[in-house]
Symmetry: C2
């Protein structure tokens, strides 16, 4: 790669990925799941653009509800990211324009910014970097460059790009962006040389802002103000809520790309997938001779071309053909893999029935660790709680429930009505209803404890937070 | 029905039903599951032959490991059954001959005995009783009468009966019994008027014993001795183990029916099914317009002819066609319904891998109630324990684990190193490693408690039983 100014990678990590239900849910969406490697998709994205001669340290923009995932998962892989928090959801347009405003303010208008979705897969990172280098040339020459993907099949799951005249280097002008086609149109697009629109972009931050100001002046003014008034908060940069809320919810394609005259495209072939649905997850993982991909304890007999994911329980299949089976602790999805696009509508229908399995996981993530419901009855609720080393729950009390804690691993520091004690493995304590208490892990290994709640009302909302180091009080 | 001597119903309840895995397992086989009504198959069988003008109180014969199911489930529906315990498995021949020996000894050799499998379904009990009446006429005339079923399809899952000359009344001689055929042979059998062999029989107890003594003299002598030396034990009648062990393992068809000259058959059409596999469970339950049968929280979209069973977790299906999905707490089975017969081989393969899910349920049944693993870690194990009113666990100790008990419902009587105390809802106690303890429910409602075990070895076999009211010490 030729020497040039460093690029600022910006990771857009605010999506909810409902088409990968039941694994991906609002409480833990797909970018924060390990679907194709030991790292999560978000971590793999960060590692792909690790700081060095080519890249500045990354900027992440995500929803406030995902801030601890974004920070913890970056920390786990030793990456120091600036995390911008969107106070409300406004789709990718405002998010990307806000990030551009941040990059311009911090590094200058000419700085190249690489906007990447946090939940895409790239199996050939070297080819990806080469493609970034080609795009940088066109971006420095004044283009917003999108990465077009050589279609592997006439997919109806992607928008397409019709390429125009060649520019200097490998880039071409964009003749037009076209929406997700039907099957026949997709065939025609592929034979006419159209590319898949990957939704990842490279551009000078100031150019994107200028195009935004021209095409979406109110939104661009709103997000620029939201960045200017942003507040540091526990290591995050929280965009100003009032200002950001004035932005119009719109994708960056609709807001800018489809209307600007400076769009360019470089064609890439770097094993890209947006793994937007289960068939894509199947395709991106290595299959056995029969075309099956399995994860977890799975026993297949006489089966072909199937994807089976289990997060723990035994899944047995006999005679499966082209089927997807996804089994989590509290939900199972079964469908022919070619119905993968229909999961989104299924989730919408299930949401209407207000089932917990739609949006929440049994295991819930908190800044201090996790908790998981393991048993529930009419007047009791049993949870397994894991507190990371140094983690501290809020100082709290409950009006309607008492709690029993049994430490099964590690060391707990328990504050109960002002007095502090230490519990070791196999010790327990009782927290009467109304007592003011706090749990912390002063040790070096995760603290695991079993909590048995009893009472007539056991909702998560019966919690009075008196103090909280994560500012949730 | 014409007035005649009362018939003794004998329920054979010793099977293990592996083709209905993962629901039916060695630790709780299909006859004790509610698969087609609110009652278990065993209960429905008992209710079909309830004591009254036609029937004596029932006799049940089952394996010692199932004795508490047999007793409790009979009690639940207010039926007073005599339960004979087979000390070892010897297939249906010895079981049925032993029951015949018991019936002859108790009621006399001419007494009619109706031998019924505990795990069959009859959807038209009136037609069944009419058929029993027809069979009784032939039985009293000196026949072992089998119930032949008018085939609904050329099934390869059943043995067939070729009918011979008509006898007095509705019965016919059996020309021959034939094994489960291939598809082409099954077609021919059906067009030739063969009947399915249901494996249920009516006969004078003494006649069956005489035929047994002639055809299987050693086995018949063995089981007769086992009945003569049987011991009353906690309300069960335990056949003598040494005597019974000398019987040869053989089905009653192989042992007697296929060789005797006194076999007769009555054709029945009473909605019979042996629900031997999942496709049969599907067929016997009422389906919706699309041919789907579901049980539990199931959401099907665009699906036809499918069977989906969930014991609690949400199961969602999109575009299912002729598929069976069975989801239990710890295992999921997916297959085209026409592969239902292959489950037996799958279970055999899984058994070789020694997975718990094959033979045990998460919820285990004990004479005093149930326990269920709800969470397991390297050095801890959490169970939910339910003790029925009056239930008492053994006086016991553990070498390698300590236990914490938290009562979440009802009242516990806890004996700890000789002193007895009472715990109410929301109270807890600690049982150190090596302590001698006992748990009982002195109350009127089920006692529910959460047990947290900690220690370096947590196997079920770390239990020293010092006393046990169920004679397991």
């Amino acid at each position: 790669m030729s020497p040039r100014q460093q690029i600022v990678p910006v990771i857009l990590a605010g999506g909810t990925g409902t088409r990968l239900w039941p694994l991906s849910r609002q409480s833990l969406p797909k970018q924060f799941l390990a679907l194709v490697s030991d790292h999560t998709l978000y971590q793999d994205t960060l590692l792909r653009v690790a700081a060095g001669p080519v890249f500045h340290p990354p900027v992440v923009i995500t929803g406030a509800e995902f801030r601890f995932f974004a920070a913890r998962q970056a920390r786990e892989i030793g990456i120091d990211a600036t995390v911008l928090l969107e106070p409300v959801r406004r789709d990718s347009g405002p998010a990307l324009l806000a990030a551009a405003a941040y990059v311009e303010a911090r590094y200058g208008a000419d700085t190249l910014m690489l906007a990447l979705a946090a939940d895409h897969v790239v199996t050939d990172p070297k080819a990806f970097l080469a493609c970034v280098d080609e795009a940088a040339t066109a971006a420095q020459a004044g283009h917003i460059v999108t990465f077009g993907i050589q279609p592997r099949a006439p997919s109806t799951a992607y928008g397409y790009i019709k390429c125009g005249a060649s520019l200097d280097g490998a880039a071409m002008r964009v003749a037009s962006f076209v929406e997700k086609p039907d099957a026949a149109t997709a065939e025609r697009y592929v034979s006419d040389g159209y590319l898949w629109n990957s939704g990842n972009f490279l551009f000078p931050a100031g150019l994107m802002l200028a195009e935004g100001a021209r095409l979406e002046p109110d939104t661009t003014a709103a997000v620029t103000a939201a960045v200017a008034k942003a507040q540091e908060d526990l290591g995050f940069l929280a965009l100003d809520a009032d200002a950001f809320a004035a932005a119009t919810s719109k994708s960056i394609d609709f807001a800018v790309l489809e209307h600007t005259q400076v769009a360019a495209v470089v064609a890439g072939d770097f094993g890209w997938s947006d793994i937007g649905a289960w068939d894509a997850v199947h395709a991106v993982n290595p299959a056995d001779e029969a075309g099956n991909v399995t994860h977890g304890p799975v026993a297949l007999t006489d089966s072909r071309g199937s994807y089976v994911y289990s997060d723990g329980k035994l899944v047995a299949g006999i005679g499966l053909e082209g089927l997807s089976v996804i089994a989590t602790d509290d939900a199972v999805l079964v469908m022919p893999s070619d119905r993968s696009q229909d999961v989104k509508a299924l989730v919408a229908r299930l949401s209407a029935s207000r089932r917990n399995e739609v949006s929440e996981h049994l295991k819930m993530h908190r800044p201090w660790g996790t908790y998981q419901t393991i048993c529930r009855g009419e007047r009791f609720h049993v949870k397994k709680i894991v507190v990371e080393p140094g983690g501290t729950l809020s100082l709290q009390k409950h009006h309607h429930r008492a709690e029993h804690w049994v430490v099964v691993r590690g060391t707990a520091e328990v504050t109960l009505n002002g007095s502090v004690s230490t519990l070791h493995e196999n010790q327990s304590t009782y927290l009467p209803c109304g007592s003011v208490h706090r749990l912390a892990n002063p040790g070096r290994i995760p603290l695991e404890l079993i909590e048995v709640q009893t009472g007539s009302y056991l909702g998560e909302d019966d919690i009075v937070r008196l103090e909280d180091i994560y500012a949730r009080a």
